[in-house]
């Protein structure tokens, strides 16, 4: 069921335009007016994208689900004071990235200790962070190779790569989400792409390799 038809089911008599459906900002206004069901539509509109974003930034399917829920819980708590001049999607992406950064920070702190412990449980949790290099060698699968390469990027570059390549945000939108200048976004993206190309080329992924100059 599409978002718009879902909205029509939720509010059969609503005056929202049936062709395009209410915008995010209109739904926020409805929510702030006291109709909490509007949040349901926002969740259904965004939950898969947010879940995908978190998965690609943090890694781990269960973690992605947990953190997606955490994102929407925080959004629910904060939506009452959401300022109308901001875009809801940018605001939601900011929350998702903050939640992801918190998790990555905690994971790194925990792994600092767990290097010594090597219990089965901690190994299993570590493995949830994403495919290992061994997985890559064994599988030679392009999808996993890309996942490993993206996971190896510095956080700032990975965020920009994910927002650009997989979420399809414009440079301007990424600049708003990350609250950094446009030039910074492009620098991080360019460096990230360079790192990815290097990483994938080392893994034997031919498509990423630069074209050799012709012999003259």
């Amino acid at each position: 069921m599409s978002i718009d038809s879902k909205a029509a089911v939720l509010w059969p008599g609503a005056s929202y335009p049936s062709r395009v459906g209410p915008s995010d900002e209109e739904l926020v206004e409805t929510f702030q007016g006291g109709d909490s069901a509007a949040f349901e539509v926002l969740v259904r509109r965004w939950d898969r994208r947010i879940q995908g974003l978190i998965y690609r930034v943090v890694g781990g399917e269960e973690e992605a689900r947990d953190l997606c829920q955490e994102t929407f819980l925080r959004a629910y708590r904060g939506l009452g004071t959401f300022k109308k001049e901001a875009r809801f999607s940018s605001w939601l992406y900011q929350i998702a990235l903050n939640v992801s950064r918190d998790r990555l920070r905690r994971r790194r702190l925990r792994n600092h200790v767990s290097l010594d412990e090597l219990t089965e449980e901690s190994e299993a949790r570590w493995a949830q962070g994403g495919p290992t290099a061994l997985d890559l060698v064994e599988s030679r699968d392009l999808s996993r190779a890309v996942a490993v390469a993206v996971a190896a990027l510095p956080d700032e570059q990975r965020e920009v790569i994910v927002l650009k390549e997989y979420e399809g945000l414009t440079f301007q939108e990424i600049s708003q989400v990350l609250d950094v200048p446009l030039s910074t976004v492009k620098t991080r993206l360019y460096r990230g792409l360079g790192q990815l190309r290097l990483h994938l080329t080392r893994q034997g992924i031919r498509g990423a390799a630069p074209v050799p100059a012709p012999l003259s």
Partner: protein, 233 residues
């Protein structure tokens, strides 16, 4: 202009965000710069590779909606169903009596002696016993429903009563079995968590122990150096 100066424009072209002026600048530069042409081609192929990274099937098909945000139309029904289930369970566990007499169904709240439920055993044995009890309950229910549908009167009611009492007894036994199984499972989970926590504490202590050992070694070395320095004087 240098290649570096065109980098932002090249990215705009790569992602289809370049305005006509930027596109013209890039085209002009690329026409005379083989390195940048190769760079742009390489970035396009890289984007093709990146697009191969798909989300796991479990994430593509599932939603991550917190239950608190779900639609609320079913909540009164769910609440009513919960109350009914709780009442049913309480009736069964408290040994209440259900009676069919003179064409009327009645029940009495009370504490009859609880049938001694056999101790729950793990795994297949438990499943087998639960399945057997469930089958007996279904059979008894079918019989009662058939008798009620036929409307045979008080004579049939006398035959029905023992069946219904047996149904309740079976229900009690089944719930006791399930309760025991859940308690056992809970105890097992608590024990596993305890062992995991102990492993964490142990690892933390080992880590601290290592740090302390290193500190002692450094201090010893420092004292040695101080002693050597003082002897030289």
């Amino acid at each position: 202009m240098t290649c570096e100066a065109h980098r932002d424009d090249v990215l705009d072209v790569l992602y289809g965000e370049a305005d006509p002026a930027a596109t013209r600048r890039v085209e002009e530069h690329l026409s005379g710069c083989r390195d940048c042409r190769d760079e742009l081609d390489g970035l396009r192929r890289l984007r093709g590779d990146l697009s191969e990274w798909e989300l796991p099937a479990s994430l593509r098909g599932s939603r991550a909606i917190p239950s608190v945000f779900r639609s609320t139309w079913w909540r009164p029904l769910a609440a009513a169903a919960t109350v009914l289930l709780a009442l049913g369970g309480a009736l069964g566990l408290s040994g209440s009596e259900l009676r069919y007499d003179a064409g009327r169904v009645s029940f009495r709240l009370g504490r009859a002696p609880v049938a001694s439920a056999p101790a729950a055993s793990p795994g297949q044995d438990l499943e087998r016993r639960l399945a057997a009890l469930e089958a007996r309950q279904e059979e008894a229910l079918r019989t009662i429903q058939a008798a009620l549908a036929s409307g045979s009167g008080p004579a049939a009611a006398d035959q029905l009563l023992p069946r219904m009492e047996r149904l309740i007894a079976d229900s009690e036994a089944r719930q006791a079995l399930m309760l025991d199984a859940r308690l056992e499972d809970y105890a097992d989970r608590v024990d596993r968590q305890r062992r995991y926590d102990m492993a964490q504490v142990s690892a933390g202590l080992s880590y601290l122990d290592g740090k302390t050992g290193l500190q002692v070694a450094r201090t010893t070395e420092l004292v040695g150096q101080v002693l050597q320095a003082s002897q030289k004087r």
